[in-house]
Symmetry: C2
Subunit: 139 residues, 2 copies
């Protein structure tokens, strides 16, 4: 297949709560919850750089749509990394996330690869890394 | 923060097995495993459209780096969607994933929003959707 991820869907327990976290807390752009006309369709999309979209969808609906049983969110299953251009941006974003209700997993600090990064968890436990990586600066 | 995800890291049990799945099975471009000079650094990166990168990293190393305890992968925690331009591409990619060892979660079929899509799980249980969505065609 072509090397492309179009959409990252995060399964959430409470769509309104997660919308507030990502829209108001992290400042990501969205038209809010759409798709309510479908029984299992209510979703919030966020337009990200490069044409990528982030979606928030109730875990109940993801389980329904896939036919899979719900399993607890694992905070060590994956991480979404937001890389920044300048080292000093890391602390500011970590602080904003904490104010928005994120759980700080690891305060910003030097990394083994020569960068500077911190981790937090969103309200459902999904893991984010905010990183200044001199080998992987944003384009 | 700016609306950007730089890197999606998938935690895996067996880095070599996952490399083979994504590189040889799905055909994603990579330089293979790098970072072996760091005790917890061995990682495989894949360059995707729009500047996004996918990374495979041992779950043990993600747990070590975050200080979190390992928790089982949940197949209903998130989904990565690969959208295609033409409906008939869905079946071909699902078949390639199955040949590569993916577990088919839901065979390709019409979706509630007027598209056509299927789901599979990678060797660790990470969920992928291959979708033709007339409202969200690849750019």
């Amino acid at each position: 297949m072509k090397p492309r991820i179009s959409l990252i869907t995060l399964a959430v327990a409470d769509l309104e709560r997660s919308l507030v976290f990502y829209r108001d807390g992290l400042g990501l752009p969205t038209d809010g919850i759409v798709g309510r006309e479908f029984e299992h369709g209510a979703v919030a999309f966020f337009d990200l750089a490069g044409g990528l979209k982030l979606a928030l969808w109730a875990q109940d609906n993801l389980a329904h749509d896939t036919g899979l049983e719900k399993q607890p969110i694992s905070s060590t299953a994956f991480a979404l990394a937001h890389n920044v251009e300048h080292r000093q941006e890391v602390g500011a974003i970590m602080a904003a996330a904490e104010r928005a209700g994120a759980a700080i997993v690891k305060a910003a600090q030097d990394t083994f690869y020569g960068g500077y990064a911190g981790y937090f968890k969103d309200p459902d436990g999904h893991l984010w890394e905010i990183a200044w990586n001199p080998h992987m600066l944003p384009g």
